[in-house]
């Protein structure tokens, strides 16, 4: 540990006490990882509990010139919360307070460590819920959701995190606390709130989030459709939306995934089908009735084998459990997995599913698919045993080819997981030099010293040019 880092640790220990400053090897190892396969190097870990403490930590790090990596629950899948070269990890996991629900304005402030599902659970008695529902919602935090602009099955109709975050309180890299956005819509000036959401912790540390709460729909119906071919299922996705119905959720699962999940959850999924669609429609009873009829009609036109309509809340919950525990079920197949989050235009679903099948077959790896079909947001999961270097190499190669195939079909790198470090070097596939430099400038406008979650999101070497910034004295290599 350098003298500067040692002095910072002393200051932080004095501020937080020895229990909330983690310096031991076990903690440093733990905080060097997240839900991804990226491994890093963690310096020290601070566990603040209030905005003031975060601000004090940030001021100290600023004075010491030390890098900061904010962290929520650590469930991210792209290495976004992994510190790469020491520095200070600020974990927001202890900031779990929820403010009072502002029922009249359908919103509430929460601290970033609050778990996603806990929000909806806490407000259900008011007839409200928090719409973005990532599959990891039992474990992932609101702060992390804000960092990655998280999605989830219900984002098809309801929109992603940024559409449900009215405001944020953020500690800036120099320790200053600002509030961006708020209950009153459209404050004057540029929409900085919109930039903070999805910035993956590279612009500051979010310490409170103003969530927009959504009324629970008066009626909801959940259907499971099964098909003998992936292309029939994909065609149904296309045709339902073409018929003017935007379901609340429209999820696909392939046979490999259905088999793994069924063994795990026992939801009665047909394991001999090539593809399953989980379709949920909600709204008024008349809307639900109409949408259900459209879905059934379209499905029958495309050779659906069975249409299973959840008969009660229990069955509905079981079908959703099957969907949301899918990633966990992969553990029954192989000890580890490598997951991508690319998006393709919905019209290319059949093609990309075929391409993924060819790529994984060629590389001799097992691929399970479960994804947000309505959005074209894929989640091909390559199951692997990382103790097998050859299989790991083939899994990496297959993943690389899948990403490139998606981009070649007019798609993009991430729908909801973010770029982190894992997709960082793919950014030039979708953005040219000027595009990336403009993004680097936006980032530097928030973080002039380049100390916030460095080496994430933008490829190494992407700089904000010297355009217009006379006061830039950033040493070579500080900014990425």
């Amino acid at each position: 540990m350098t003298t500067t880092a040692g002095a910072l640790a002393d200051q932080l220990r004095h501020l937080l006490g020895p229990d909330r400053l983690l310096e031991g090897d076990l903690a440093r190892n733990l905080y060097s990882h997240d839900g991804s396969i990226v491994g890093g190097d963690c310096g020290i870990v601070a566990l603040p509990e209030t905005t003031d403490e975060v601000a004090a930590c940030m001021r100290m790090a600023h004075e010491a010139g030390v890098d900061v990596v904010p962290r929520g629950s650590g469930t991210g899948l792209t290495g976004g919360a992994v510190p790469l070269e020491g520095g200070l990890v600020i974990s927001l996991a202890r900031m779990r307070a929820m403010g009072e629900v502002d029922v009249a304005n359908s919103c509430m402030w929460v601290q970033p460590g609050v778990l996603n599902l806990d929000v909806s659970t806490a407000i259900a008695h008011l007839g409200l819920h928090y719409a973005p529902d990532p599959s990891s919602q039992q474990a992932c935090s609101i702060g992390g959701n804000v960092g990655t602009n998280a999605g989830g099955p219900h984002c098809l109709a309801y929109g992603v995190t940024v559409q449900h975050v009215l405001g944020v309180e953020m500690v800036r890299p120099d320790g200053q606390v600002v509030v961006l956005g708020g209950v009153a819509p459209d404050p004057p000036g540029y929409d900085l709130r919109g930039v903070v959401v999805g910035a993956e912790g590279t612009v500051g540390v979010v310490t409170r989030v103003l969530l927009r709460l959504t009324p629970l729909p008066p009626d909801v119906r959940t259907m499971l459709l099964d098909f003998l071919s992936v292309s029939d299922a994909s065609a149904v996705v296309q045709a339902v939306i073409a018929a003017g119905v935007i379901p609340a959720a429209l999820e696909m699962m392939d046979r490999n995934m259905a088999m793994a999940v069924e063994e795990f959850v026992h939801a009665g999924l047909p394991t001999d089908a090539a593809a399953l669609l989980l379709v949920e429609v909600d709204g008024t009873p008349a809307e639900v009735e109409t949408a259900t009829a459209v879905v059934e009609h379209v499905a029958r036109e495309h050779g659906v084998r069975t249409v299973r309509v959840a008969q009660d809340e229990e069955e509905r919950a079981l079908l959703w459990k099957a969907r949301k525990t899918a990633f966990g079920a992969v553990a029954r197949v192989k000890p580890s997995y490598y997951l991508h989050d690319c998006v393709v235009p919905r019209t290319r679903l059949v093609e990309i599913m075929e391409a993924i099948g060819e790529i994984t077959e060629r590389e001799g790896v097992m691929c399970l698919n479960v994804f947000h079909a309505g959005d074209g947001n894929l989640h091909p999961i390559i199951a692997l045993d990382r103790s097998d270097p050859d299989e790991t190499a083939r899994a990496m190669s297959a993943g690389d080819q899948i990403v490139r195939a998606c981009v070649a079909m007019g798609g993009t790198l991430s729908g909801e997981h973010g770029i982190g470090v894992e997709k960082r070097d793919y950014m030039p596939l979708v953005f040219d030099h000027d595009d990336l430099e403009a993004q680097a400038c936006v980032r530097r406008a928030f973080d002039p010293d380049g100390r916030m979650n460095p080496d994430k999101v933008l490829p190494t070497g992407t700089r904000c040019g010297e355009v217009g910034l006379a006061d830039t004295q950033v040493p070579e290599g500080t900014w990425i």
Partner: protein, 356 residues
Amino acid sequence: MDLRPADRDELAGMLRAATAEGRVLDIRGSGLHARRGHPFTADDVLHATGLTRVVDYVPEDMTITVEGGVTVGEVLRLAGERGQGWPQAPSQPAATVGGVLAAAAGGRRRLRFGPIRDSLLEVVVATGDGRIVKGGGRTVKSVTGYDLPRLLTGSLGTLGVIVQATLRLWPLPMAERWFTTRGDADEMLDLAQGVLADLHRPTAVVAGPTSLHVCLTGVPDDVVAPAGMVDAFEPGGPGAGTVGSPAGTVEASVPPAALPALARQLVADGFDYEAWMGTGICRARVSAPEDVQAVRGMATAHHGHAQVIDGDDAMRTDPFGPLPAGADIMQRIRASFDPAGILCPGRFAAADPVPA
């Protein structure tokens, strides 16, 4: 001088030249939102109305990519032919796509469909120094890099000229109708609150001093007149009932629950208004500069803010009111997008470079 580029390359060249020569530009689409922000003096006016190409429309993906000079009416016409719509669009068919995005001027269906910034998937801008920069992506879902589309939405031409936009479209509803009724302001506000409480996701609930307009969208069974209301026969808001001859419009934004109280204060002081119930937005017609401060005072008392969205120079001496936090961040962003400060300088003065 009027500059009328025919395509983005010519436009970018004009920006490079202006940057090199230090000539200040005013950026215009149809001009409908020109009276926003601080008044400023420009050497030339750059009209982006010549960029009228429809670049790509994939109805099956419900995305349309158009150049910035394409009009709202044209997008709605093309989409309508395929049973689709752009529900966040304002009810100004002549407005350009680039213009409404730069002004963040969305329409009355915001209650159900959200602000216009939610409909912008990918944006291409020409920066002040003529670079072509793309942000976002054409898929309906994307978290690939920093959210330039949101940053550009509402930037009033001070970060770049929007030369191309990819919009998310929605299926046209099976049924959509406007309903209306007349009465005094209190009655209208009470009725509006009843509609908001009783109906699941009404599309627009627009209250004025003497009338209420409600838009419902969905399946035919749900699109029926709320109690006490009749078919409006034509879409829109209060419109009529204008008090005096207003010289401008102030858009007040307050927490949605405070809107009825704000509207009651406005009517008590004789202002005509259009309150977008449930959204917190209220457009008040103003006739004199002091009216701006009066409306802003009411909005501020309800923990909101108010901006002049239309008005002559005298009306716009303080168009934004107090700015929220982060002015230094805005300044640095602006400096990187428009290093010579030639894009509408002064219009959003808080983001202009601070004189050394």
